[in-house]
């Protein structure tokens, strides 16, 4: 039965995935397209550092909750020996590296050093390989490349969406259209990599096809479904809404913002599914 710490842990994991990948993605996106932004640049930087700082708080709280999960109730969070066990576990090392990366992103974005913030992104994505299913697999070394690749592209896409939304609000229509076009031309090549890396991860982690009928497999298929819907929205953006924005069609900006908001919501849903899948279930 799901205990209170288990349920809270899934919620907090989902929230930290959202904030951590927003921060990591904001740093990447600002490094790539920061020069194109004018009136929205300061807000985009601020949002990135807020996501990094609050993400770090969530990562620490999630680690403390591990002690609660170990005890089976929240009182474990006050038990020194369980807290020590959580800190010295692989989840402890991963959280430490993640917090270091997030601190770098928060400080670097505030100090307008986007290059340094990207180092933070690298640390944050690398931290995922220190714990979890990929960390103990016999295919560890391939997984250690695949998982960060999966996450870097997810972060790039997810982190770009608020920047695009802001650009459509604050920049001149011509500039906003140019930024969307630049993002689209990079995303078209990168985003299929999420699927490629995700399928390769699944192939190496999943013990047998029977797992697809167990909760881990069903959640994996839900991720695939979410990804397919996202590809639909992304194509709508690229082929219909972005050209309409470039032509300055009436209503194009509002339709674009709606579609970006829907993409954001869908990615949040896929992250929640991922949090359930990796916290409560196993691929073997």
């Amino acid at each position: 039965m799901l205990s209170v710490p288990d349920a809270l842990s899934v919620l907090l994991r989902a929230l930290s995935l959202v904030l951590v990948l927003q921060a990591a993605g904001a740093a990447l996106c600002l490094a790539l397209f920061g020069r194109e932004l004018a009136d929205s640049l300061a807000t985009a930087r601020r949002l990135g550092s807020i996501a990094a700082a609050s993400g770090a708080v969530c990562v620490v709280a999630h680690l403390a909750l591990q002690a609660g999960r170990m005890a089976g109730d929240l009182s474990g969070m006050l038990d020194g020996s369980l807290l020590r066990l959580a800190l010295t576990s692989t989840a402890g090392s991963a959280s430490a590296l993640s917090v270091l990366g997030l601190a770098l992103i928060a400080c670097a974005l505030t100090a307008r050093r986007t290059g340094v913030a990207v180092i933070g992104t690298a640390l944050v994505t690398a931290s995922f390989t220190l714990t979890g299913h990929t960390s103990v697999s016999p295919h560890r070394w391939i997984l250690c490349l695949l998982l960060p690749a999966h996450l870097l592209i997810v972060a790039f896409w997810f982190g770009a969406l608020p920047v695009l939304y802001l650009a459509s609000l604050k920049e001149s229509p011509a500039r906003a259209a140019r930024i969307v076009d630049r993002f689209s031309s990079v995303a078209t090549w990168l985003v299929p990599g999420i699927l490629l890396a995700g399928l390769a991860l699944a192939a190496l982690l999943v013990a047998n096809l029977g797992v697809l009928r167990q909760p881990y497999g069903e959640l994996l298929l839900a991720k695939l479904g979410g990804f397919a819907l996202l590809m639909g929205l992304a194509s709508l953006n690229k082929w219909r809404l972005a050209p309409a924005m470039a032509r300055a069609d009436p209503g194009a900006l509002i339709a674009f913002r709606r579609s970006v908001a829907a993409e954001l919501a869908l990615i949040v849903a896929v992250l929640a599914v991922t949090a359930v899948m990796t916290t409560l279930f196993s691929p073997d």
Binding site: L85, L196, L209, P283
Partner: protein, 140 residues
């Protein structure tokens, strides 16, 4: 891009290799679902990978669970938990264990300690050393 996506899908079908990520319970003594004539003084848990117990409880019939202490202080594949003196009844020993991948897994084994008068009724379950999920009596 589309044709490329087929490659990992093929890999999924072809390159299935077993990765023992989580420490799963392989067997227990007394076995899950077994009935024992002599009250056991301990429960032995065998996991697929080294695991560290972080909490354990025992519950008899419908009574609330009581913590089991002391817990083994290190990770191992085989872990033993001392039990208090057990009266006849249905027991659930449950636990939380930390595995090498940082995951925390709940688990439990259920067994029955037979009353003297019942021993003759369930001799086939009385060894308590079967592995896996031996079928247990539906009620003691």
């Amino acid at each position: 891009m589309r044709p490329l996506a087929i490659l990992p899908a093929l890999a999924l079908l072809v390159a299935m290799t077993v990765a023992e990520a989580h420490a799963h319970l392989r067997s227990a003594v007394p076995a899950d679902g077994s009935s024992v004539a002599t009250p056991p003084s301990r429960v032995v848990l065998r996991f697929s990978e080294a695991a560290r117990l972080t909490a354990a409880w025992i519950a008899r019939n419908a009574a609330p669970r009581e913590p089991l202490r002391p817990l083994p202080d290190r990770a191992a594949r085989e872990l033993a938990l001392s039990l208090p003196t057990l009266a006849p009844g249905r027991y659930v020993v449950s636990w939380r264990a930390l595995s090498a991948d940082g995951h925390i897994m709940p688990g439990e084994v259920r067994f029955t300690v037979l009353a003297r008068g019942m021993i003759g009724h369930a001799p086939e379950h009385a060894t308590g050393d079967a592995t896996g999920h031996a079928p247990g009596p539906s009620s003691p």
